[in-house]
């Protein structure tokens, strides 16, 4: 009961700290975007068919002629009322655009995180229980290669091998699949294999090394030796005693890495034409569609802050030695 009350206070305090940090982030993002060259109606300037008055009218209509602080103020007030702004380019609400794209991103990122964990934990644990064995060395080498290769490279290699040479998998991701029933799911799985693999292996490689060192730390502790001396089977010692403890920092790491996964997804989405928020961000940046860029970057900023909070809370919850203060 005591712990519970303290932790609630802790969470509330953390949540309150979030507000100024998010405000600060939004100010920085907004001023950066305002300082960046180019505006969404530039394309009109080079188009001989559009008279300058139309551009001027549009700029006025979307408030681009106001001073930066005023535009920020308008943006902030609107955001507090749940209005994320209006896309210059698509002429629709930013929130609609983001909501259209977010599910795909979450599915792809979620699936790749699951893949990463599914690979990293068994491989990492096995490697740690037999340090410097052949398996450990092979696993280490692959992990190194895995997180050294950028996703745009592995993505292209996969496309060349599986789409072009073997012709097994499509490399253009399509959100609308005409099929129904099983065929529908099969098509979705088929087109997700490559993007999920690229992201999953990249994440998994980093995690393998982390799991391995974390398990190595724990496996030498006295309580493990005690467990073994009590006659508990090696398998049970590892799964029940070692892994449970060793995974505490891993859980935090996974939560803390979520923002990195999002940025990795931007590149992957572009390569495979996955209609997620990453590709939305890129196309909006190319079109100078500042409200959408602001929306997407702010969503990612919120995710970073929230996942940090989750990591903090999870850590304390999993490891009672950490006090909430």
């Amino acid at each position: 009961m005591q712990v519970h009350r303290v932790s609630r206070q802790y969470v509330i305090r953390k949540l309150l700290i979030m507000i100024p940090s998010l405000l600060g982030i939004s100010v920085v993002l907004f001023s950066l975007l305002a300082l960046a060259p180019g505006d969404p109606f530039d394309e009109l300037a080079t188009n001989p068919a559009v008279p300058p008055e139309v551009r001027a009218a549009l700029r006025a209509k979307f408030g681009l002629d106001d001073p930066v602080w005023m535009r920020y103020w308008h943006w902030l007030i609107a955001l507090l009322q749940g209005d994320w702004g209006f896309s210059f380019v698509s002429r629709m609400d930013v929130s609609t655009l983001i909501m259209q794209r977010l599910p795909v991103t979450l599915i792809v990122i979620g699936a790749s995180q699951i893949l990463a964990i599914a690979i990293a934990i068994p491989v990492g644990v096995l490697a740690a229980t037999r340090p410097y064995s052949l398996f450990d060395q092979v696993a280490n080498t692959f992990a190194f290669i895995g997180f050294s290769l950028p996703t745009f490279f592995t993505g292209l290699v996969l496309i060349l091998v599986f789409s072009i040479q073997l012709d097994w998998l499509p490399f253009v991701y399509r959100a609308d699949i005409a099929a129904t029933g099983w065929a529908f799911y099969w098509e979705h799985i088929k087109q997700s294999i490559m993007p999920v693999t690229v992201l999953g292996l990249f994440q998994g490689a980093a995690l393998v090394r982390f799991v391995r060192s974390s398990v190595l730390d724990v496996i030498r502790l006295d309580y493990v030796t005690t467990a073994r001396s009590k006659g508990i089977g090696e398998r049970k010692v590892i799964t029940r005693h070692v892994v449970r403890t060793a995974l505490i920092p891993v859980v935090t790491l996974v939560a803390l890495q979520m923002p990195i996964v999002f940025s990795g997804a931007i590149v992957t989405e572009q390569i495979f034409r996955v209609p997620g928020i990453g590709s939305l961000l890129i196309s909006s940046m190319l079109a100078n569609d500042t409200p959408v860029v602001m929306g997407v970057t702010f969503v990612s900023a919120c995710l970073v802050v929230i996942f940090n909070l989750i990591a903090d809370i999870l850590y304390g919850w999993l490891d009672p030695r950490i006090a909430f203060r």
């Binding site: 180019g38 505006d39 068919a49 072009i164 490399f171 609308d176």
Partner: protein, 596 residues
């Protein structure tokens, strides 16, 4: 061929003494292509032979899905707000204009019953009115009939500045009247030789009055139909995710028999040009990919996959070099490159002549652009009827050296020519784009051999092409001696294109650098020629003035054409489609089909 001879021939065709074919052959003998010849006939009142339709399917539908890949997907689907070609191409799946431009730059009726001509009474002799007869029995996708009211409404909608339609320029200076249920009249304030602008081609797509009537002016952005198009086109709207995907299904009530062929259409966006080419040429996942700004070498390699082929469609876009006529290094009244100055060295015509000899168009085509950039010296080269034959490409370093030597530009110790203490040193800017940097290098190298030192400058495209008045590096400010970029020509009429040479159009601080004359060339002769084109109703005379204007600018080395920039696309080996360089890629979508 002289104008009088030409008229004589046309007269013979009209009188029936000379066949159409005979005329076209006579024209070809003097170097005027068949399309140009037939255009001359049409504009002189001889009806155009409509090319025999190549459309083979004998029933509507049954063609399965048509999969299009646009590496930048459409972001909105209201044709009046469509900024780039991607949005227009996307809107064109559902919306149609009264008439479209075919690959030769001729009109093809869509929602019009016929193309207005002098003979059918569509064009008035004074050049002040155009009467369009609309096709009858056409319905919008929701079943409502398409009538003259819709056409008039589109004019009211687009011309209202509060609507902020990008098509405003085509509609603000005309008056549109309904004559009867299926006839509209477009009235001009002054005689207008190029009358096929409103309701035609990329900016002529028509939206339904009954769905947009409440959203005219400032409320335009709230119209639900902005995102759910209801048109008259071959496909009906199904779903739209901006930047990602547009899908449509066959319109069972389309106004042309047996069309369209495909059951569904989808336009997928995103990714990059190379992988888009790959998805059509190598894996065959898609049927058509648009705007492949990819090196020809790569395209050729991908084509070996055998699943599809690359098609190059000529248009009017030109990559060209501009020579500043003003001094970019002296500031007058808060602006450089001011009209009050003269360029210190480029004002010498001999220097310009020498520079023209140092631009190696052929090498630039061969080593950089390949099929995707045929070399040309002209600024105006399309449609073929405007292509001047008077500007051969000459690349000759020795001759350039000779000219400079004779003009008194002597090489100094550093190998750079100088005269009266002024050195031949130029700054040459363009946007960051690999082929452009390679082109810069080719020109710089040749110039070096002639004792001209060129400093290369490349600016990020988003800055170079921006209209930011505070930024000195935009192409319209032209604060360097030389610059290079591509200018687009959206219509088969050079009227806007040639504003580049009109004195009053000079880009200056006073007009916030929005003038179209970037070199700031001030030439009474050019102004006179342009003036002729504005009022001249006779298409033959008008074309002659445009050609003369182009020649004047090229021969005074105000600008120099480098390469043409045609539309490059990839299509499935079985897909039959006509792509026009003068209209949207999807302008003829109703006629696309696949061989069985």
């Amino acid at each position: 061929m002289k104008e009088r001879e030409l008229r004589g021939l046309i007269g013979k065709v009209k009188a029936g003494k000379l066949s159409r074919r005979g005329f076209v052959q006579a024209m070809m003998a003097v170097g005027i292509g068949a399309p140009a010849a037939s255009q001359i006939l049409l504009s002189s009142g001889v009806a155009m032979a409509q090319p025999a339709s190549t459309y083979k399917p004998t029933k509507r539908g049954g063609g399965g899905p048509l999969k299009l890949l646009w590496w930048q997907g459409p972001t909105l689907l209201n044709p009046h707000f469509a900024v780039g070609t991607k949005d227009q191409d996307g809107s064109r799946l559902f919306y149609e204009p009264l008439a479209a431009w075919d690959p030769e730059g001729n009109l093809k009726p869509k929602l019009a019953a016929e193309i207005p001509t002098k003979e059918n009474g569509g064009l008035s002799a004074d050049g002040l009115t155009v009467t369009w007869k609309l096709k009858q029995g056409v319905t919008w996708h929701d079943g409502k009939p398409f009538t003259a009211d819709d056409v008039v409404f589109n004019w009211e909608y687009a011309k209202d500045p509060a609507t902020a339609a990008y098509t405003i320029a085509s509609y603000q200076d005309v008056i549109v009247e309904k004559v009867d249920q299926y006839t509209v009249k477009v009235k001009f304030k002054k005689p207008t030789p190029f009358w096929a602008d409103a309701f035609v081609g990329t900016r002529g797509m028509l939206i339904p009055k009954h769905l947009f009537a409440d959203y005219i002016g400032a409320k335009s952005r709230d119209a639900p139909t902005n995102l759910k198009p209801v048109g008259t086109g071959p496909y009906m709207f199904k779903d739209f995710k901006p930047g990602d995907l547009v899908t449509g299904v066959m319109n069972p009530n389309y106004h042309q028999a047996n069309k369209p062929y495909f059951d569904t259409v989808e336009m997928k966006g995103g990714g990059d040009a190379v992988s888009a080419a790959r998805a059509v040429l190598q894996t065959g996942e898609f049927d058509f990919a648009w705007n492949l700004q990819v090196e020809d070498e790569i395209l050729t390699r991908l084509e070996k996959g055998g699943k599809g082929r690359v098609s190059v469609t000529p248009g009017g876009n030109i990559e060209f070099l501009l020579l500043n006529t003003t001094d970019p290094w002296t500031e007058v009244d808060g602006e450089r490159s001011s009209l009050k100055t003269k360029h210190p060295t480029l004002s010498d015509p001999e220097v310009r002549k020498a520079l023209a000899l140092l631009v190696d168009n052929k090498s630039i085509q061969d080593h950089i652009y390949g099929r995707t950039g045929p070399a040309t010296r002209n600024f105006l080269y399309g449609p073929p009827r405007f292509d001047s034959k008077n500007n051969p490409i000459e690349f000759n370093v020795d001759k350039a050296n000779d000219i400079l030597e004779k003009a008194g530009w002597k090489k100094g110790a550093d190998g750079i020519r100088a005269k009266d203490g002024k050195k031949l040193k130029f700054v040459y800017q363009t946007s960051i784009n690999q082929p452009r940097q390679k082109t810069q290098a080719i020109i710089k190298q040749a110039a070096q051999k002639a004792g001209i030192d060129i400093e290369l400058k490349s600016v990020t495209a988003s800055v170079f092409f921006s209209s930011d008045v505070a930024n000195p590096d935009t192409y319209t400010k032209f604060y360097t001696d030389l610059e290079m970029y591509t200018t687009t020509m959206g219509q088969p009429d050079p009227g806007t294109h040639m504003l580049q040479f009109v004195s009053t159009e000079a880009a200056t601080k006073a007009n916030k650098w929005q003038g179209r004359n970037i070199t700031r060339w001030q030439s009474p002769e050019a102004d006179k020629l342009y003036g002729e084109t504005v009022a001249e109703l006779d298409p033959v005379k008008r074309a002659a003035s445009f050609i003369k204007l182009n020649d004047l600018a090229i021969q005074n080395q105000i600008v120099m054409g480098i390469v043409q920039r045609p539309t490059v696309s990839a299509r499935n080996a079985k897909l039959n489609c006509n792509i026009s360089g003068w209209d949207n890629n999807t302008s003829d979508l109703s006629d696309w089909f696949k061989d069985a």
